[in-house]
């Protein structure tokens, strides 16, 4: 079938359609489970407690318990409880989550000292930003040096290879002891999670630069400094930019752990807090917000990248 020809791009229409399915199928599955009662719905939502003393309106009860109580009430001839099938509290329906995207922002914090959602999000973005920027400021130059000069490669890489196997969250307690309980240790965790990978990835990218370009530079009279700044750096820029986009995605995965360290804050605090109040629609919304934020930033960077490097051949 034409949809499955090896290594051949789809036509424009099919491409858009398939890409929509990429999001559409999971959402469809979610809708089916949420709106079609006989697929799952293991609980009953009580609409009228009847004579069952511990039932309350809108309470979620396991189906088996509900029918037992119902049978008991029937035997005793007392009022029957009424209910409708429902999913467990941790699986809100799509429309509830969609509403939560708005209401989560307007829900007032439970206590006055606590943060609104937009404040939590902003705090998370700052942690990611600073952790990633500090890592890049140090990591990219080190990576380029290691990729260009064998000397620096031998000097840095063995230690970094070792260090990158140490899980970043393991340094949580240490980071708090050294940096206090607020944002600093969280930034440090993002840094540790990103930095060591970054040096190795950038070094590898630098090594992949076509050696013929370096030789051409030498025969044109480029000195050591020029080789680095006029050939190596511009030569790897597009690949370096792509690396950074990928690494930024990794940094996001360290966010949740980082924010649990010290005083819990940011989007993680919001999620745990809302889970505690059983506002799972808000939890889902917040998790999706992270995904949407990450994807948006990545698409934005990709768009900027196409304009930054006009010499890149479109592939």
């Amino acid at each position: 079938m034409s949809l499955f020809t090896v290594n051949k791009p789809l036509d424009r229409r099919s491409r858009t359609l398939v890409a929509l399915c990429s999001f559409g199928l999971p959402v469809l599955l979610w809708c089916m489970v949420s709106y079609v009662p006989f697929i799952w719905h293991p609980d009953m939502k009580v609409t009228d407690p009847g004579s069952v003393s511990y039932f309350r309106n809108d309470m979620l009860v396991d189906k088996e318990i509900f029918y037992n109580e119902s049978a008991t009430a029937e035997e005793n001839g007392t009022a029957l409880p009424q209910g409708i099938p429902a999913n467990p509290v941790y699986l809100p329906a799509p429309h509830e989550v969609v509403t939560a995207f708005y209401t989560a922002f307007t829900t007032e914090p439970q206590r006055r000292s606590e943060a609104w959602l937009h404040e939590s999000l902003w705090s998370s973005i700052q942690v990611i930003f600073w952790g990633f920027v500090i890592s890049s400021i140090i990591g990219i130059p080190l990576g380029i040096l290691a990729g260009t000069y064998d000397f620096f490669s031998r000097l840095f890489e063995p230690f970094i290879e070792f260090f990158r196997y140490l899980p970043a969250p393991a340094f949580g307690a240490l980071a708090v002891a050294i940096l206090g309980i607020y944002q600093a240790p969280k930034i440090a965790i993002i840094f540790i999670g990103t930095f060591f990978q970054q040096v190795l990835v950038v070094a590898n990218t630098t090594r992949k630069l076509d050696p013929a370009l370096l030789e051409a530079g030498q025969t044109l009279g480029a000195g050591n400094r020029s080789m680095l700044f006029r050939i190596v750096v511009p030569g790897i820029l597009p690949d370096l930019y792509r690396d950074i986009r990928i690494l930024l995605g990794w940094a996001w995965t360290y966010l949740i752990v980082a924010e649990l360290i010290g005083t819990s804050s940011g989007i993680t605090w919001f999620i745990t807090q809302q889970a505690r109040y059983k506002n799972f629609d808000n939890v889902f919304a917040a998790i999706m917000m992270i995904g949407i934020l990450g994807l948006t930033i990545d698409l934005l960077l990709a768009w900027i990248g196409r304009r930054l490097f006009p010499w890149q051949q479109s592939k």
Partner: protein, 302 residues
């Protein structure tokens, strides 16, 4: 090649003879003395080049030809300073060469233009490295671009150019540094036949009009005979000089000469040097005859 009545390639007309006399009077631009290169390969030490001696005179065009594995590329890389000789010396105007430098321009088969720089900036690269200020470098680069006929593409990036255009830019980029010698490593090897012929004519034109000595590696016999004053024929394992052939085809060259007696005689001689008839061995031809079923409808293709 079937035996037709060709003159001896060593028979030179008086004009050609006189020209070679004068050529050898010219000062020596580059001298290679007892050059040997050994590599440490998987199966011990391999001698890639052995005892190469060569004098390249000012404004001479020397081609190097030889079977694959004869060390042509190693030789040119040592001349460029990209690799070090194990023994022997390379002298440029009497001074020993040890590392790459702008006074030996190099053109590679793979173009090696800097993809992030426009045509103009590529040509300016070496000029700026030599300490020229930006305005003069730009003016100079413009002249070169005009000379290679790419004014319309001054601000194009290399990926927007065809192979032939890229190689023109690469040649201009090397020449802009005013090198004493231009080293070319199979520069037209990746081009199609038509573009290649154009580039050859083009290179001859440049060589005639600019004060430049050319050292040109190729595996194409026609190209070598057409372009060169003298052809250095190497043999493989180890790479040694087999002969330094003086091409008897009169200068200036023209494509009509491809079928001249001198041209064919020289070509035949070098062909025999590279592929000696005696060396044809039995184990190197296809053995498919009995494996492939033959359609009986057509008994023989002849």
């Amino acid at each position: 090649m079937t035996d037709v009545n060709l003159p001896d390639y060593k028979k030179q007309s008086p004009e050609v003879k006189d020209r070679f006399e004068r050529l050898k009077q010219r000062p020596v631009t580059m001298e290679v003395k007892g050059l040997t290169k050994k590599f440490n390969g998987l199966h011990g030490e391999v001698t890639a080049l052995k005892n190469i001696d060569l004098k390249i005179h000012k404004r001479e065009f020397v081609c190097v030809i030889g079977p694959s594995g004869c060390g042509k590329s190693t030789l040119i890389r040592i001349l460029a300073g990209l690799e070090q000789a194990s023994e022997g010396q390379v002298l440029l105007d009497g001074k020993a060469v040890s590392k790459p430098g702008p006074e030996r321009g190099m053109v590679f088969q793979g173009y090696t233009l800097f993809p992030w720089l426009t045509v103009k900036r590529n040509i300016m690269f070496g000029l700026l490295e030599s300490g020229m200020d930006k305005n003069s470098a730009e003016a100079e680069a413009r002249q070169w671009i005009e000379l290679i006929g790419l004014s319309r593409f001054e601000n194009s990036y290399p990926h927007q150019l065809s192979g032939g255009m890229k190689q023109r830019v690469a040649i201009a980029r090397a020449l802009a540094n005013k090198p004493k010698i231009l080293l070319m490593d199979e520069p037209f090897g990746a081009l199609d036949a038509q573009t290649r012929a154009k580039m050859q004519a083009y290179l001859m034109e440049i060589w005639k009009n600019i004060d430049i000595t050319v050292f040109f590696i190729t595996h194409d016999l026609d190209e070598a005979v057409y372009l060169a004053d003298r052809i250095l024929v190497l043999k493989a394992n180890p790479g040694e000089v087999q002969e330094l052939v003086e091409v008897p085809v009169p200068q200036p060259r023209h494509p009509d000469q491809f079928l001249s007696q001198e041209f064919l005689a020289t070509k035949k001689h070098i062909e025999e040097l590279i592929h000696p008839p005696a060396e044809e061995t039995d184990d190197d031809h296809l053995n498919l005859v009995r494996m492939v079923p033959v359609n009986d409808d057509v008994g023989s293709v002849f």
